[in-house]
Symmetry: C2
Subunit: 396 residues, 2 copies
């Protein structure tokens, strides 16, 4: 795979897209089995919806594969290069990791997304989806493997790991030397267990307790729009806001206004004493500050200064995304420098922390760890590097 | 620490260098205790030598700190930047990890090196040296902490972790959320145990089973010089060659010549059938191919092709450094593309895989893992990044 040319890899991606659409009947039938099983088991409607494939969603999966084909090949990119004093030529070049293990929950579209991104970045991928999507994943992977094989690449660069029991996850986590990196995508429990038990290096993704801090010098119309968009644009995603901090100077001018707007949008505000006096606000408990609701809920607190906001974020944030709304340049600089999260936004919605929004064209997840990749991960983040050093008989 | 300016950090580094020399009497006296204890315990002379400090070695430690002060500050470097279609400004900026844990053996100069590199890259560092160097390390760290405190930075950015028992290593490995990254430096056993037991992300360093492959199209004089330099320039280091592969076409023209030269240099050749017929060659066993001798020993094998050399390397290499000697451009390209190691050298000695030789100016170790950093690690490798996104009220 490391030696495959971009032309070959792009041909495989287009073949995969075409095959997925050509086999849509079989894939949708397999998906219907998963959906029926989930419904029979009394699975909540929201979860069933994430499991469900439609002709439209299959088309989006195919388009995703074609989009990845259109992106530059990260493999071979020269990251750093120079000629040393002794004439040695030094090049740091991107290379594939080798074998990537993906452990993910429910949504079968991740199967095609991950397969496409790993193939383009020159990696073989072991896909371990959830058992609730087993029929869908098996159908999708079979179609994609057959398509890959038609382009001269081995079908085995894409493999589905049996998802019936936890044993296969354990085997992946212990496959040091065989699997180069594991990427868990899903709930906090899944991610924590992989991080703690794996001897294979892990890229932790996705838990987002994101904050919006409205500074004393905020444009209040902008602040209102950003809070609403961050909280309500889509609630089930990791870059949705879960906590609102408002400067004490705005206790009267902004707090009642934002409570009213959030409440009107169906949001339950879990507020401290500065918020709790307003209609509809529920008193916040200590658990609220660290909660990733993923629902129409938000915790809210009045703080005395930007430093108090920074301190609150340091204590409770998951390190995903925090936003500040301010017109004060010095305050913005202070917040950006002192907040240690994967993304810090100034006068913009937390919802922008996203590989698509950042222009990466494809995203395998959003890393909340500091090693290797932090924030949205595109194709370059799915590679390692090596140094290539060329001389003509150089010795020390 | 993340907010410290370059000027402050460089002042601290110069203060550390000056204080180390000013306190040389006390540091050397503390070191003499370690040396006496090691000698009384019957420690091999080579190990005692690595433990020993001299006025000259202290001067080198001080110069190392001054050199780090002269290097650019990695913190704040913009790695990637663009303005998105909607006008949002996107910047990926280098930031410190936070807290780095260093676990290392014997040599007390690592204490000053690691302290300097971590301080310049904006990290706090927990230094866990070996108990054999405990008096030296305590003396060095006390001097460095006092020096740091004179420049307005907190002394606690440098801390020595008690090294008397394995409990403190265990505590570091379990300090997820408190320690951001662990860097073990030392023998294979130490590194393996940290990699397997740590829940804190680890950067694996240093085990080197490095190969030199002499191709059919090699310049034989160059090949001889590169083999000798790679093996004998310094045997105790991770970038020394441990294994020699020679193309079958050179069985008569080169094999006897390289055996004679290696033997004359005091090297024991552990050879396969193609080598074993020559005087002084010891027959290789299966264990030899994977051995990191770190001594005047080398395993040697005749291979039928560059692909056979690549296959041997894939099977036995530790992924540190491999060199090819050839005048054939196509063979060099094939070897560089197919060998998956941190450094691949063409017509140059394996001894060049080194932060100093690469022009990085300082090195915290050589990573042999694929995540985050691979090969010699300088200041930029001791940082993470964050995305800073600036808008004027942007919502989705």
């Amino acid at each position: 795979m490391a030696l495959a040319t971009r032309a070959t890899k792009d041909a495989a991606l287009h073949a995969m897209a075409g095959a997925l659409l050509a086999a849509s009947e079989a894939v949708l039938a397999a998906n219907a089995e998963d959906v029926a099983r989930a419904e029979a088991a009394g699975t909540p409607a929201g979860v069933v919806d994430r499991l469900r494939l439609t002709a439209e969603r299959l088309e989006a999966m195919a388009q995703g594969l074609r989009d990845v084909a259109g992106l530059p090949d990260p493999v071979g990119e020269v990251v750093r290069g120079s000629t040393l004093a002794n004439g040695l030529e030094l090049r740091q070049v991107r290379v594939p990791f080798g074998v990537v293990g993906m452990i993910y929950e429910a949504r079968p579209n991740v199967t095609a997304d991950a397969a496409g991104i790993c193939l383009k970045s020159g990696n073989a991928v072991l896909l371990r989806g959830s058992s609730s999507a087993r029929s869908s994943n098996a159908a999708v992977v079979e179609v994609l493997r057959d398509a890959v094989a038609t382009t001269g690449l081995p079908a085995d660069v894409l493999q589905l790991v049996p998802g019936e029991s936890h044993d296969s996850v354990k085997a992946l986590m212990r496959a040091r030397g065989l699997v180069d990196v594991l990427v868990p995508r899903g709930g906090a429990g899944l991610i924590r267990s992989v991080v703690e038990e794996s001897t294979v290096p892990v890229i932790e993704t996705g838990v987002g307790n994101c904050h919006v801090y409205v500074d004393a010098a905020a444009d209040l119309d902008q602040a209102l729009a950003i809070v609403l968009n961050s909280k309500t644009h889509r609630t089930s995603v990791c870059n949705a806001a879960e906590s609102l901090l408002v400067h004490a100077d705005l206790a009267e001018s902004f707090v009642p206004r934002v409570v009213e707007a959030l409440t009107a949008a169906g949001v339950t505000v879990h507020g401290d004493a500065g918020f709790a006096t307003y209609d509809g606000v529920v008193e916040a408990t200590d658990d609220d500050w660290a909660a990733e609701y993923l629902s129409l809920d938000i915790s809210a607190r009045v703080v005395d200064s930007v430093d108090a906001a920074i301190e609150h974020i340091r204590r409770f944030s998951s390190g995903h995304t925090e936003a500040i709304v301010t017109r004060d340049q010095a305050v913005a600089r202070r917040f950006v420098a002192a907040v240690d999260s994967a993304a810090v936004l100034v006068n913009a919605s937390t919802r922008f922390t996203d590989g698509g929004e950042f222009g990466f064209g494809a995203e395998i997840g959003i890393s909340t760890q500091k090693l290797h990749a932090r924030g949205p991960m595109g194709l370059p983040e799915m590679t390692s590097t090596k140094y290539v050093v060329t001389g003509d008989g150089h010795v020390r």
